[in-house]
């Protein structure tokens, strides 16, 4: 069974369209982030989250009214959301305030929320709480950014070492592209930046290079067997040859991410959403962006001089080369 049999799509012809499309999405994301900001989860923003279970059905409006009437400062800053399975009558309440870090009073706001609920006659049982002081968020943000940047640099160096520098650049640009697109979608759909979402973004940087590496690997292989062809032709042939595999593996990864999104529960929602977006944009960027960057970086010169294999080695040479696969005898397609 074949989804794509012998495709011959000129992907590089569409590279400017693809790059333009990506810029549109990224700039729209920048616009939304600049005007409305990225919503931050409590781990980053600081504040108090409680998950309360009521013994009967309670609407979000009832909770909000109770806060408006009885919570100091009113409930207009509070986020109230039904949580988990509706039959469990659970509601998540988030307020930006948090007790003082010194002293044992970090949790006073949670108590105040509960007092406000019980005054309104909504007896609730605390199922969970997350209370974060203001100094945690700052540290986490910088740690998250550093981890992302360092992992990108790590990948750049690894690919520069295993392939060529231009390939490393292509993969890293494609990954940064995926990061920005994912951030844009997180901003469009107003998902909170949480630790789980950051974890998903970091995971994505690893796996969006996955497809890219497979394509690069084929380009490297074809550079040896198609030495008289132009770089752009080789890129196109390589992307087409690996297209079936790219679509199938992205498909299976996407299916599991969707399983997480629909069945993984409330806590993993943001994580699963990030993975879904990341997998789609990762596939798109490996096909349209990564190789286009390599071709732009190197220009479409004849490949002879640029090929990784030594120029003297004949294409059919069986001589084993360090850290390279054995040479192919025949073309695959």
């Amino acid at each position: 069974m074949h989804i794509f049999k012998h495709t011959n799509i000129d992907f590089l012809r569409w590279r400017w369209h693809a790059i333009a499309l990506s810029w549109v999405v990224i700039l729209a994301g920048v616009f939304v982030i600049a005007t409305k900001g990225l919503p931050k989860a409590v781990e980053f923003a600081g504040g108090t989250v409680v998950i309360e279970q009521f013994d009967h059905e309670v609407t979000e409006d009832q909770v909000r009214q109770a806060l408006d009437r009885n919570y100091p400062g009113g409930g207009h800053d509070a986020v109230v959301q039904a949580f988990g399975d509706p039959s469990t009558h659970q509601v998540m309440i988030r307020v930006p305030a948090v007790g003082s870090e010194s002293g044992a009073s970090l949790g006073v706001e949670a108590q105040k929320v509960e007092d406000a609920l019980s005054k309104a006659g909504l007896a609730a049982k605390r199922q969970g709480a997350e209370i974060v002081g203001p100094s945690v968020g700052r540290e986490l943000t910088s740690k998250g950014i550093w981890a992302t940047v360092l992992s990108l640099i790590g990948i750049l160096f690894y690919l520069a070492f295993r392939f060529q520098f231009s390939f490393g650049v292509g993969a890293v640009v494609a990954t940064i592209h995926d990061l920005l697109i994912t951030l844009a979608f997180l901003a469009f759909f107003r998902y909170d930046m949480s630790l789980n979402v950051i974890a998903a973004i970091l995971t994505m940087t690893g796996f969006s290079t996955n497809d890219t590496i497979v394509i690069f690997d084929r380009i490297r292989e074809n550079l040896r067997s198609m030495r008289r062809d132009s770089m752009n032709h080789i890129i196109n042939v390589s992307v087409n040859q690996t297209l079936g595999r790219t679509i199938i593996t992205s498909g299976t990864a996407l299916l599991t991410a969707l399983a997480l999104f629909f069945f993984g529960g409330e806590v993993l929602h943001g994580f699963a959403f990030t993975m879904v977006v990341g997998i789609i944009t990762g596939t798109y960027s490996s096909v349209f962006i990564a190789a286009a960057i390599v071709s732009l970086w190197r220009g479409s010169a004849p490949t002879r001089a640029a090929a990784h294999a030594p120029a003297v080695a004949a294409p059919t040479s069986q001589q084993p080369q360090r850290k390279q696969k054995p040479q192919r005898k025949a073309r695959a397609s």
């Binding site: 969970g128 593996t249 299976t252 991410a257």
Partner: protein
């Protein structure tokens, strides 16, 4: 063919071992089958977010430890200067790492330097100008003190948590400065008591009262200043109830005896049958206390806990090793207090940065949805692979199940913790894991189309793809490593799951899958077709 036999033996052995470690304990627990304890100890542990419990992040205020040393050395300097008859106008500690001395008489400059060099060994002395000297704490001393403070705080918290009787608590240092302490208490429900006990400094000091009690702080000032070598400490009047007005005591700054001289503390009652805490001092502490109490009979002794006078009884006789703290305590308070005193004082105050409580039902919900997502994800992939690759799909599915078994087994073996994001990593490992199989199968298809034999195509497929897989897995491991570095708790669990999944995937997709093909082909002489 004996080569193939060994491969099959290896594959089966690996499967059996990892299934025994990773899967069997889970199944046995679920269906209440008894099993040997050595296997149970290795069973995959659940993280706090799945099991329920309390997660606290505290910061050790390491400044306090520095300030203590600065205070002690400036006091020693003051006493020593007095003893050597070197009068100075003022000795003060403007912050935690500096001592400032003013008004050293020019004639006694050399004598001052001599005393200062002997006493303030932890400080760097500035060249004095106009009789003013500044002492700065040496940087290496600062670093050591800060490190010690965090380690001591961690050990003290450990002792306290152990006295609370929590099973499998986890206490770890973290944070960029290493001054944060992560406390995880699985199954704890009384959060407030746990927090109070962890955070109490528990610093017990016995100091001789110079003057007081007075109704206001100002009443004890001399020339609007706290007299040198003295301190003003608030407290409740002796024998009063908790809501009585605060009174103030002027006490000696240096404690006669402190919590470090304490050997034991236990719940008792005072002469009015109210709850109290009795304590026993070490021999060394008893000797010091005996000297001080003998010299000060008839005066008041302030029993100060965490900077507050609990009671100030009059010394009626010389006391050595036994003492009692009385005040307006409830039974629970004296229980907590004796626990805190037994576990030793914290070297610095702690602040709470973060507090997370996960109720048991919340954890159970997470497990349920995580398992559901895993099953749905697995089914979807199995169905897809079987339809798309037919018999070779069976090969991929077997390799995938292998992968998951090895993942669970390795996680259990290395003592990794399964968290909710870890379950997500588990699900993703399935989706991304079949990637390797797809890559190999697509390559085999290409080779078959190039009119090569089935065996040659399979060999070429595995051989050519090996380095591609190697590269993709290394790149993914690089980002995993940084993820591990970044995260704490649940996120670490996720990174560990992913890393182990990547490594086991490399093994199953290449070794196991290839062996399966070889087994399938070994009984056929002429192979013309491959179901792929």
């Amino acid at each position: 063919m004996s080569n193939l036999r060994w491969k099959v033996v290896t594959v089966v052995a690996v499967f059996v071992i990892f299934a025994a470690v990773g899967v069997y304990p889970i199944v046995a627990q679920r269906y209440h089958i008894t099993q040997p304890t050595w296997l149970m100890d290795k069973a995959l542990k659940l993280g706090l977010d799945l099991k329920g419990g309390v997660h606290l992040v505290l910061r050790v205020q390491t400044e306090d430890a520095l300030r203590l040393v600065a205070d002690q050395e400036s006091e020693r300097l003051r006493e020593e200067l007095k003893a050597k008859n070197v009068p100075v106008a003022k000795i003060e500690t403007p912050d935690a790492t500096h001592i400032r001395v003013e008004g050293v008489p020019p004639a006694q400059d050399a004598a001052f330097r001599q005393v200062a060099n002997d006493v303030t060994t932890n400080f760097e002395r500035s060249a004095g100008t106009n009789g003013v000297y500044t002492f700065t704490m040496r940087p290496n001393v600062q670093v050591n003190l800060r490190d010690e403070a965090v380690v001591q705080a961690r050990q003290t918290i450990e002792r306290r948590v152990n006295e609370l009787g929590v099973t499998e608590p986890s206490i770890a240092q973290q944070g960029t400065n290493g001054d944060e302490i992560l406390v995880q208490l699985p199954g704890v429900t009384d959060v407030e008591r746990a927090k109070e006990i962890i955070r109490s400094t528990g610093l017990l000091e016995l100091k001789i009262v110079e003057q007081g009690p007075a109704p206001t702080r100002e009443a004890l000032l001399v020339n609007n200043q706290v007299p040198e070598g003295m301190d003003i400490v608030p407290g409740a009047a002796s024998g009063a109830t908790a809501d009585a007005a605060t009174v103030f005591y002027l006490v000696k700054k240096v404690a006669a005896v402190s919590g470090t001289d304490l050997r034991n503390a236990r719940v008792s009652v005072d002469e009015n049958n109210r709850p109290a805490v009795s304590f026993t001092l070490s021999n060394e502490g008893g000797r010091k206390f005996g000297k001080v109490s003998g010299e000060n009979i008839g005066r008041q002794l302030a029993i100060i806990l965490d900077g507050r006078v609990q009671s100030a009884p009059t010394l009626e006789s010389r006391i050595t090793t036994e003492g009692r703290i009385t005040g307006s305590f409830t039974q629970e308070e004296v229980q907590n207090l004796s626990l805190i005193l037994r576990s030793g004082a914290l070297p610095a105050t702690l602040t709470y940065l973060q507090e997370r409580t996960i109720g048991p039902s919340l954890g159970a919900d997470s497990i349920r949805s995580g398992v559901l997502a895993s099953i749905v994800g697995l089914l979807v992939i199995v169905v897809f692979m079987l339809i798309y690759y037919r018999l070779s799909g069976v090969n991929a599915v077997v390799a995938l199940i292998f992968n998951l078994v090895i993942l669970l087994g390795l996680m259990a073996y290395v003592g990794a913790v399964m968290t909710l994001p870890g379950i997500a990593g588990f699900v993703l490992t399935m989706g991304i894991g079949v990637d390797s199989n797809v890559l190999i199968f697509e390559r085999i298809k290409e080779e078959l189309e190039a009119q090569r034999g089935v065996r040659a195509s399979i060999n070429a497929g595995f051989g050519r793809v090996f380095w591609t897989l190697f590269d993709t897995h290394i790149a993914a491991l690089i980002s995993c490593a940084f993820l591990f570095q970044f995260g704490t708790g649940p996120i670490r669990g996720f990174a560990v799951t992913l890393c182990i999944g990547l490594i086991s995937n490399l093994f199953t997709s290449i070794f196991v899958s290839k062996t399966l093909f070889e087994v399938a082909l070994s009984n056929r002489q002429q192979v013309a077709t491959l179901s792929i």
